[in-house]
């Protein structure tokens, strides 16, 4: 058989990605009522989560140096980034079930990268609810908080949620990869994924220095929404997180994905199967 050119192979991979995700989208959209209920549920949850910050800010004027509209920008950007990552990679923590029952083998024998299969199989479109709230909240809060657009800040406004989603997605992937070692310890990973999201949607200045350092250098979630907001609204940052760190999202996303890919590969290699 003739050797295929790299570009032809890339073309077929893209087609495969489109087929895989397309089939999931069509299947989930076919149950309209259930889909709408799920979507609404997601919107309600994000609203309730934000109520926590809103209640605190109804008692005090500033939290971590930020007013309510400014905190809402952080929350909106964080919800948007987490929503995208959760839609694509959120179900990866169900991997321990697949490992324990041995159903992972069926994914391994298919000629498609396993991560792509898991991501497309468990694609959860209901997370679009969270994404929509994130977009609406960011836009509204930015307007109230007095955002003055410049070419730089507009570029950051596009880059930040995507880089944030990439960082959160890498964290989900690492959490999934860890389950090859800690089959029963899936909750352990929640501290970094959901805990990371919790940190990302709050003003980073509220955290004491050691915690702030941990969630910047080890689990880089203060860079998902908080520092981009500082840069967008031209606010001074606390110690360790000066305003320019708002631009670090993209390089950090690349770095975390390299680590996530290495960890994932090591995990898959370690997997020995559970059944026959």
């Amino acid at each position: 058989m003739a050797e295929r050119t790299p570009s032809a192979r890339r073309g077929s991979t893209l087609r495969m990605v489109a087929t895989l995700y397309g089939s999931r989208i069509r299947s989930q959209a076919s149950f309209r009522t259930s889909f709408l209920m799920d979507l609404l549920g997601q919107v309600l949850i994000v609203g309730t989560e934000f109520l926590e910050l809103w209640v605190i800010l109804s008692q005090v004027d500033v939290l971590g140096g930020m007013t309510l509209p400014q905190v809402a920008v952080v929350y909106g950007l964080g919800a948007l980034a987490f929503g995208i990552a959760d839609m694509l990679f959120g179900e990866i923590d169900g991997l321990s079930t697949a490992i324990r029952s041995g159903t992972l083998e069926t994914l391994m024998i298919r000629p498609v990268p396993m991560l792509l299969q898991i991501s497309s199989l468990d694609l959860s479109l209901r997370r679009l609810g969270r994404i929509a709230v994130g977009i609406a909240m960011t836009a509204t809060a930015l307007a109230i908080a007095g955002f003055s657009p410049t070419p730089q800040t507009l570029a950051l406004l596009v880059i930040a949620p995507l880089a944030g989603a990439a960082i959160m997605g890498a964290l989900f992937t690492m959490a999934g990869a860890m389950q090859f070692w800690l089959v029963d310890g899936r909750e352990f990973a929640n501290a970094f994924t959901y805990g990371g999201n919790y940190v990302a949607t709050n003003p980073g200045a509220v955290f004491p220095l050691p915690l702030r350092a941990f969630f910047t250098f080890v689990i880089p979630t203060t860079l998902v929404a908080y520092t981009p907001t500082l840069a967008l609204l031209d606010l001074p940052g606390p110690s360790l997180l000066p305003q320019w760190t708002g631009w670090l999202g993209l390089p950090v996303a690349v770095l975390t994905w390299i680590l996530a890919a290495l960890l994932w590969r090591a995990g898959v290699r370690r997997y020995t199967g559970a059944g026959g």
Binding site: M37, Q42, I45, Q59, D184, Y198, F207
Partner: protein, 264 residues
């Protein structure tokens, strides 16, 4: 009655075998406690050291007691009964000699007892070391606190059961569980103290069974309410437990009548 106690003991033992999961849970619980404590302590310090009756130490105590109750109360909801109804396994449960709700309650008590000891106490020690906590010294307060926890677990169990039993009529209950959990987390006073809510929301919240699930045991155990004040609070818990037990029983009876299990 003997069967009831044996199921409690068996359920306790069952959960005590998941050692790695327990350690992972303690770790995650502690990290979340630190994050939550940071946010609340920042709010208290911005307010000038005291916010609606909470100073820094009391706010920290509130957070760590909440983290300790999270697992036994199962604040993130359960799906097991809904799935058993969905798959038809519930038919077997209904044939057992112990009543369905009593069986579930016994399992829940055993599970919660283990979760309180294994997942509740270690994060409190972490909290005591990192932020400091203040607990009552009066043995009567401890006794009332334990009673409040038992009732909190009971009220949370019954409300969760009502959500699960909806599976008799609704095919997919995931959305319902998710929405219920979000509302419960906020109104139970798990995320932020109810006293910090705007006044109208406080009134609304007090009319629901949610504060009985988390805020009441925290108030009793952190000595925010005196012994004399604790008794009526515990009475309210008992009242909700009674109302919800009746509701769960009535819903179950109706559900059984509409249940249709196929197979042979």
């Amino acid at each position: 009655m003997l069967a009831f106690w044996r199921i409690i003991a068996a359920s306790f033992r069952q959960y005590s075998t998941y050692r790695v999961a327990t350690v992972a849970g303690v770790f995650t619980n502690s990290v979340f406690g630190l994050i939550r404590a940071s946010i609340l302590l920042a709010a208290v310090s911005t307010a000038g050291g005291e916010l609606r009756g909470y100073d820094a130490l009391q706010a920290a105590t509130y957070v760590w007691l909440g983290q300790a109750l999270l697992a036994p109360v199962e604040a993130f909801g359960t799906r097991e009964v809904a799935e058993r109804v969905h798959q038809g396994d519930v038919a077997i449960d209904l044939l057992r000699p112990l009543g369905f709700l009593r069986l579930q309650y016994a399992q829940k008590l055993g599970r919660s007892a283990f979760l309180l000891l294994a997942r509740g106490i270690p994060p409190m020690l972490v909290g005591a070391a990192l932020t400091g906590i203040s607990l009552p010294t009066d043995p009567v307060a401890w006794l009332l606190g334990l009673l409040a926890i038992l009732l909190a677990v009971t009220v949370a169990f019954l409300a969760d059961m009502l959500v699960n039993l909806a599976a008799f009529w609704i095919v997919q209950t995931r959305g319902l569980t998710v929405v219920y959990t979000a509302v419960m987390n906020l109104l139970s006073g798990f995320l932020i103290p109810i006293a910090w809510f705007p006044d109208r929301l406080i009134a609304l919240t007090r009319a629901t069974p949610f504060p009985a699930m988390v805020q009441t045991p925290i108030d009793v155990l952190s000595a925010r309410v005196s012994t004399a004040e604790a008794l009526p609070e515990i009475g309210v818990q008992a009242l909700w437990a009674g109302i919800l037990a009746l509701a769960a029983w009535a819903v179950l009876q109706r559900g059984i009548r509409s249940l249709e299990v196929q197979g042979g």
